[in-house]
Amino acid sequence: MLDLAQNTMDGIAAGSAYALLAIGFTLIFGVMRRLNIAFGPSIMVGVFLGAWVNAQWSAGLIGATIATFAGALVASIYVERLSFAAIRGDAALASMASSFALWMQLEQGVALAFPGRTTAFPTLPPLLDVQFVGLILHGDDILVLTVAGIALFLLHRLIYRSHFGLEMRALADSAEAAAVSRVNTKRVAFLTFCLAALIGAVAGLLIAATDGQVSPKFGLWATIKGLVAMMIGGLGSLRGALLGGLALGIVEAQAQWYLGAAAREIVVFGLLFLCLIALPGGLAGMRETGAERKL
């Protein structure tokens, strides 16, 4: 019982980073009705830039953080211009296919620029573990949860309490109506892409700083985690992305503890399979009309 609770706690910390990745996917999918599978690799570019800045000038975590945000933003804008802004809105498949091409390009570019492949990333400042009723909350996890919580709070305020957020939600509901309601649809779509990049960069930063290193395969990993969490939660729903991310983190932690690392992926994809069959709208999808619209 204690193990179960401990695993759940560890899982929530990992899951909060997955949730941020899923939210990044969801923002882009919700507003554009298109999937950006180069999302993970764009973040990976940012994290590598952070690692490089740190190695070059001993910039530490703060310098690496700034470089990570800048790198993820620039890489995302590159993807947006080539795979989304340049391709008409009704050609969703063309955008996805070309974002796959850019994924390969970004991954190979980083692999060539960093022949050592795996590169050190500055770690989180050490924080004491907290113990209560036999459970251990790790210092790293406290930081991860705090940062993810702040990011989610700010995002929530932006989406549900600002005019820009209202325009985003309007665009997600009906692009045609938004265009004739004084919404600059191209601008809102572009800024949504940037917002997703920043949210994803927070996740990439937390994961790389916890691990203390990053490899070019991080892009693949981030895309898969984000997509799986988004699909478990429900396509196009922000609340679903949050729930899906946390569920993914918890299930992974439990599976790893009880069944071992080898079984972890089997359990995760088994869960995804079950979700797609039993809950096609995801954990939260059925309640929001936005999730009912098809790709």
């Binding site: 045609e176 265009a179 004739v180 309601s181």
Partner: protein
């Protein structure tokens, strides 16, 4: 006021709109009619900017709109409704209007907003528009949960929230009964009395003949007639265009 000059839109070999020239005067209710496929909806899409014209220009109060994107035209004063209603179904009724208002009133209620939107001219207040559209009691209901009639009224209210000079109504009577048609006529007049010029695209002849000041008729993308409802009903070319298309009978009834 709203002027179309030699406006054309060709889709491959199809001339959906072919050299239409029209002037809509300030404060009038102008009807645009024609058989199915005559180019009415394409004309609306050219005015609002969904399509770029093959040739010709669209000007409003002397401003050339032809190269402007849709949202800029709406800011200049062109608003529209859709034949198939387009609402923000996951937003509340009031939020639907806030979007079109460009954040004038919302800013008071929410922090951060001022960072994203500069101030600007102010149209009618959301509450006033909701009362005008008999939707005030539904203020905080999600637009997707409204009845069909309420959705139509909300769509028109949202168009008015953008503070338009001219409102394009694309078949607002589609799916409405005879009695609804009467109410709709009253509401269109009320919109005009607010100082908004109305361009009405409609199949329902009784409605068009009853409330418009002037009418233009399209057929195969070309304007074949323009004039008062009386002149249009007596026009032999118009009668020929409608012959056999099922509207002839309606024309007779409307003129009787």
């Amino acid at each position: 006021m709203l002027t179309l000059e030699n406006l054309s839109k060709h889709f491959g070999g199809v001339r959906a709109v072919d050299g239409v020239t029209l002037t809509i005067r300030e404060g009038e209710i102008f009807g645009l009619i024609g058989p199915n496929g005559s180019g009415k909806s394409t004309t609306v899409n050219l005015i609002t900017g969904l399509y770029t014209p093959t040739t010709g220009t669209v000007t409003l109060d002397g401003w050339d709109l032809t190269a402007m994107p849709q949202h800029a035209r709406t800011s200049r004063g062109v608003a529209r409704t859709f034949q198939n209603i387009r609402l923000f179904g996951n937003l509340t009724v009031a939020q639907n209007l806030w979007v079109a208002q460009n954040g004038h009133e919302q800013r008071r209620e929410h922090f951060l907003s001022r960072w994203f939107k500069p101030g600007g001219e102010h149209g009618a207040s959301v509450d006033e528009l909701l009362q005008f559209s008999r939707l005030y009691s539904k203020r905080d209901v999600l637009a997707g949960n409204l009845s069909f009639g309420e959705m139509r009224r909300l769509e028109m209210a949202r168009a008015l929230a953008s503070n338009p000079r001219v409102l394009l109504l694309d078949e607002p009577a589609a799916g409405a009964s005879q009695e609804d048609g009467q109410l709709l006529a009253e509401r269109i007049r009320a919109v005009r009395d607010r100082g908004v010029t109305v361009l009405l695209i409609e199949h329902m002849m009784e409605l068009v003949m009853g409330i418009t000041d002037r009418i233009a008729v399209l057929n195969f993308g070309q304007k074949i007639a323009e004039g008062t409802p009386r002149e249009i009903q007596d026009d032999p070319q118009v009668r020929a265009a409608y012959l056999g298309s099922g509207h002839d009978e309606k024309m007779e009834r409307a003129s009787a």
